[in-house]
Subunit: 411 residues, 2 copies
């Protein structure tokens, strides 16, 4: 336990979510209130902003705009694709970070991101420990993929799930208006874990749900897919399919990749999974609309979950509280105390246990037919999508946080 | 002026919108209140429901569920692709409609749809007139395309425009987080008129707007497109493009169609306009994400405009009031009395003047560079996207109208 005093640096990394800014807002606002924190900086574009001393001074921002971050999607302080050099082979980056931390008297470091970011966080923490530089390093999780281990769920998931379930219901309402057979396919993000695709199952609550749900956890067969679809169309005329971009054949090959490989003329942009499945549906004689939800599912702040926003905000706050209380090398995790009524607690879990682990959907949450989720999933996910965001609007459109981003310079 | 008494029949047709159910709800609820209306029926699947006597009894529905239609997207009573036979060549369909009208004592007929539906409405009205059967026929407009003539705007447009502007802003926020150049393309519906694509211009209000907007009203050039994009990327790193599915080259050929024709191997599903533009962007060396908004833009009730919902509801009410007051062969149109403050009035306009006319964006609302809208467009469209819907929610998801759809049978 190291009770430190000094500046706090925050940074965001990885693909954005609807609520990653809610997390950092919670952290920034809490840090501004803490006596142990002598200055609050945000590095622009993740760890790169640290390496290049590209900091903005959060004390210069209006508090109302920091709160407006709660309803501003994507990473307000930028993200980065740069990966730190492998610590075992080349510690240049880490030495540079140490130099910057010393120069700015950084005693608290918060990295807001997914799996890779937690790994970075862990390495920075252990390097500083080894070098004898006291700094408390806490990871603030985010990922619509919901695949971080040792946490009940991840900030960002609830909002993306709410968007998927809402959009799927609307698409189904649109699909059923004609008397002819129609197959609708929604392609949903999630390369290895099917959490977000599974959220299509929540749409059953509206009465306009998904008929078939295909996850990366279950080997995919085009033959079975076609017979599944045919059975639904024969019975209900309309079939709404939710499919993960990451579904794989039994031989381990991604279905989306296969599309480009089967085309001898080198046309590789047939649309990945959507394209393959649409062709399959057409081959059995049905009209098909394939919708790739694309980046919309990770930035649709107008359809966010209030629960997700508030939990994300609180996870940022908790990160600061844990750091000020002397914890380091931890990620803020959600521990579910009860599902009904829904209640979670926040706890610090070891970053080394998080980094490089990937949580998939338990197989007993998937029905034996491999195309439906069980009630266990619904009970798990439903609390996460509750509540509508209190958005600031202007002229009928969202009013996002207006940040000054004034560069921080040491006197 | 024919002041009639008898049953009212409603039907919906054409592609659905977010608020077509709000329109019919206004009509149904008003009809239930009118003494001149002895019964309120809805034909299922448009005019086909009339031809096959497939009616549901609206008096059996719960009033609260009829009100819930205000926030239920798509056509609750189904739509139809069947086109009535050409009246000049074969009046079989019209004679059958007359027979059904007589059998059910139908004295008020309301058809809720777009351009084609107004044409159908007009023909039915004139046929009944010619046959000496008294029935008041009123069209209730809907179309996200906003291309009906003689009305300031169309029910459905404001909500679709709000969704496009909101989604574009969110996509831009998502796009700007990295330091590398990125081009985002949003493909928006509207085959011949660019109204909905133009709504991308409204996103400028959020501070995260479109850089380039291409409408069907302006001949499209790939060379100019590439140099437009390059100029924006050079200046701002990120370029967000809104493009209509209906853009055409100067020779009149659809850009989307051209894609399939240029592929000698017969691969025609490369993604239409999105695919062509994405290839063009890649050819000048930039990363590109192409997003087809697909049916989501016409069914996203969760992002509807309250103004649009209320006007749609009122247009349905006004249709009944006009019919009961003896008008026939009219469509309910919106007349803008003032833009600031925004105020409209409802009026009946001759169906024959509406049918087969198509309203495009005035060319002086488009900037000379052909890729931006002028303030005139913003002033026109901004009032239409105001206000958030009061949605009924259940378990974090929309609660749509639950209709009994009890078949109506004559005693």
């Amino acid at each position: 336990m190291k009770n430190l005093k000094g500046r706090a640096v925050f940074a965001q990394s990885g693909g954005p979510t609807t609520v990653i800014n809610a997390s950092i807002a919670g952290g920034l606002i809490e840090a501004l209130n803490q006596d142990a924190v002598t200055g609050v900086l945000c590095a622009l574009n993740g760890i790169k902003g640290v390496l290049t001393e590209n900091f903005v001074d959060i004390e210069k921002e209006d508090l109302s705009e920091l709160y407006a971050l709660k309803n501003t999607p994507a990473s307000a302080f930028g993200s980065v694709r740069y990966k730190l050099k492998d610590l075992e082979k080349d510690d240049t980056d880490y030495r540079r970070i140490l130099e910057v931390f010393k120069k700015y008297d950084v005693r608290f470091f918060f990295y807001n991101g997914g799996n890779d970011s937690m790994d970075t966080c862990d390495k920075i923490s252990r390097f500083m420990e080894k070098e004898g530089y006291p700094v408390n390093v806490i990871g603030i999780p985010k990922t619509i993929d919901n695949d971080l281990d040792l946490t009940d769920h991840c900030p960002g998931y609830g909002s993306a799930a709410k968007y998927v379930a809402t959009t799927l219901s609307e698409a189904r309402l649109d699909a059923v208006i004609y008397e002819s057979p129609l197959v609708i396919i929604l392609e949903i993000m999630g390369r290895n874990a099917g959490w977000l695709t599974a959220s299509a199952a929540l749409s059953q609550i509206t009465g306009y749900g998904a008929d078939l749900i295909y996850l990366p956890e279950v080997p995919f067969s085009l033959d079975k897919f076609c017979s599944d679809v045919k059975a639904v169309v024969d019975k209900n005329r309309v079939c709404v399919v939710a499919v993960s971009e990451g579904i794989k054949f039994a031989n381990g090959k991604y279905v989306g990749e296969d599309a480009s490989q089967t085309d001898v003329f080198g046309h590789s942009s047939l649309g990945g999974v959507c394209g393959v499945l649409k062709s399959a549906v057409k081959s059995i004689g049905y009209k098909c609309k394939a919708i790739e939800l694309n980046i919309l599912q990770r930035c649709a702040a107008h359809c966010a979950s209030k629960t997700d926003i508030e939990e994300s905000f609180e996870s940022g706050r908790q990160a600061v509280i844990h750091a000020v209380n002397g914890e380091t090398d931890k990620m803020i995790a959600f521990k579910r105390v009860s599902s009904s009524p829904y209640k979670i607690e926040y706890e610090g879990v070891d970053l080394s246990l998080i980094a490089n682990a990937e949580k998939k959907i338990p197989l007993d949450w998937i029905e034996k037919d491999g195309a439906h989720l069980t009630q266990k999933y619904i009970d798990y996910a439903l609390p996460l999508i509750q509540g509508e965001p209190d958005r600031r609007m202007e002229n009928g459109l969202p009013s996002y946080a207006k940040l000054k981003k004034i560069k921080f310079k040491i006197d």
